[in-house]
């Protein structure tokens, strides 16, 4: 390689370095794109999927539409949903306290408890898609943190009641 070609190459190299400085320098003066988080929030949170939650009935928002069919429990890939219903008492045991069993239970059309273990969930949406009465939807609760992993077992019935009261 001749010396002149070498110097030419060095010059293009140096020029590229100055161009790079120019770009970062220009960026220095540009407005920032940061969302100052606790003060501001991003504008599209509503489309983000949080954990699942129950949908209340039209006439009584504190009662879920759920018919305790157990389809979502069966559809869930990671067993995060638990739906408990009162077990119909057997013959001769009418006085015994009502036991809770996994849905579906004969004669039970409303769930006793709906619990989601969010720490197992992959937010795939299979449960919401399978639900025959559209009783499950994704919440907008993306900022959840906890100091104990037990807190991620969320009682959805209680949550629905709380939401209904707030409205």
């Amino acid at each position: 390689m001749s010396v002149s070609a070498l110097f030419e190459e060095a010059c293009t190299g140096l020029k590229s370095l100055f161009v790079g400085l120019g770009i970062t320098g220009k960026a220095f003066c540009q407005p920032q794109v940061t969302v100052i988080y606790p003060k501001q929030e991003v504008d599209n949170l509503s489309t983000f999927r949080g954990h699942v939650e129950l949908v209340g009935k039209e006439d009584d928002p504190s009662v879920p539409r759920c018919v305790a069919c157990g389809a979502c429990v069966k559809a869930c890939p990671s067993d995060c949903l638990t739906i408990l219903c009162p077990v119909p008492a057997k013959e001769g045991e009418q006085d015994a306290p009502v036991a809770m069993g996994p849905a579906p239970q004969k004669g039970s059309k409303t769930p006793g408890a709906v619990i989601v273990d969010f720490s197992l969930c992959s937010l795939c949406g299979q449960c919401a898609k399978t639900c025959p009465v559209d009783s499950l939807r994704f919440s907008d609760n993306p900022y959840m943190v906890a100091l104990d992993r037990k807190e991620f077992r969320i009682d959805l019935m209680a949550r629905l009641k709380r939401q209904a009261e707030e409205e």
């Binding site: 400085l21 770009i23 970062t24 320098g25 960026a27 100052i36």
Partner: protein, 328 residues
Amino acid sequence: MSPDLLSFDHPLTRLVVGLLCVFAFVGLNGLVLVWVERKVAGHVQLRPGPLHVGPYGLLQPIVDAVKLVGKQLAMPAGADKYLYWAAPLLAFAPVTVCFLPLPFDPDLAPMRLNIGLVLILAFSGLGVLSLILAGWGSNNKWGLLGAARAVAQSVAYEVPLLLAVMSVAITAGSLDLYEITGKQGGWPWQWYGVQNPLAFFIFLVCAVAETNRAPFDLPEAESELTAGFHTEYSGMGFGLFFLAEYANMIVVSGVAAALFLGGWQGPFLSGILWFLVKVYAILLLMIWMRWTYPRVRFDQLLNLSWKWLTPLAIIDLALVVIIKGIGG
């Protein structure tokens, strides 16, 4: 105790006071520089950088320093105890000495030496020793690789750096930083950096390499050697390396300002303010470069030094000698 020793004119008193001032100056500037660096990085990357800790994040470096002091100091098993702990101290100590002959202002001379330049170069050359000790003493393979790189890099860049400095010293006819600064004027065309831009350029490149700053931060190349020579240092051990890096940056910027940018002299209002402004301008340039470029490869770094900078510096030196010879 002789009364002489207490007076400000006694060289020893001046030295002690000067050293104390230097410590304060280094500490303060280190903190400010950390903040400036993180802020500049933020703004270059379209984000605010430290913001919520103190106004504009100003307390961030102080908080970091307190945290580093409060961290547990861990020494890896199999490390050489003495070398391991000596290294961070050795990294920091010579840098403070380097501050003494820096010409902040004609009236503000902690130590006025006729060979100030030599002192600075000698002691800044000592810095690499701490990197070797850190890398070797911590019994870590990444650290060892970082140390090996540091040595090769330091040797390679000392040569063109010295040659570039020499060309200025020959032009000025002195090794005294005050005299060299005094030979220049307040206006940019009277600066050696403008009269001899090649030497200035070589000095800047070498300065970045000497201080192990990106794109020449090979001894601590994060993506290659995790953290290089200080991989095993926690808490204040790491903090001292960190501080030494910034102190080193200030030293080389100070030397650059004195040698090439006319030091404390400005077109108007000569004084320490001008010196600090020039130092910070060079520091900003170094920070700006760090957040722009990728890291060079090790052999490219050496090639750049031996194949480009050294020959250029020699040519530059020869030209300076010839011009000086012709001119008088």
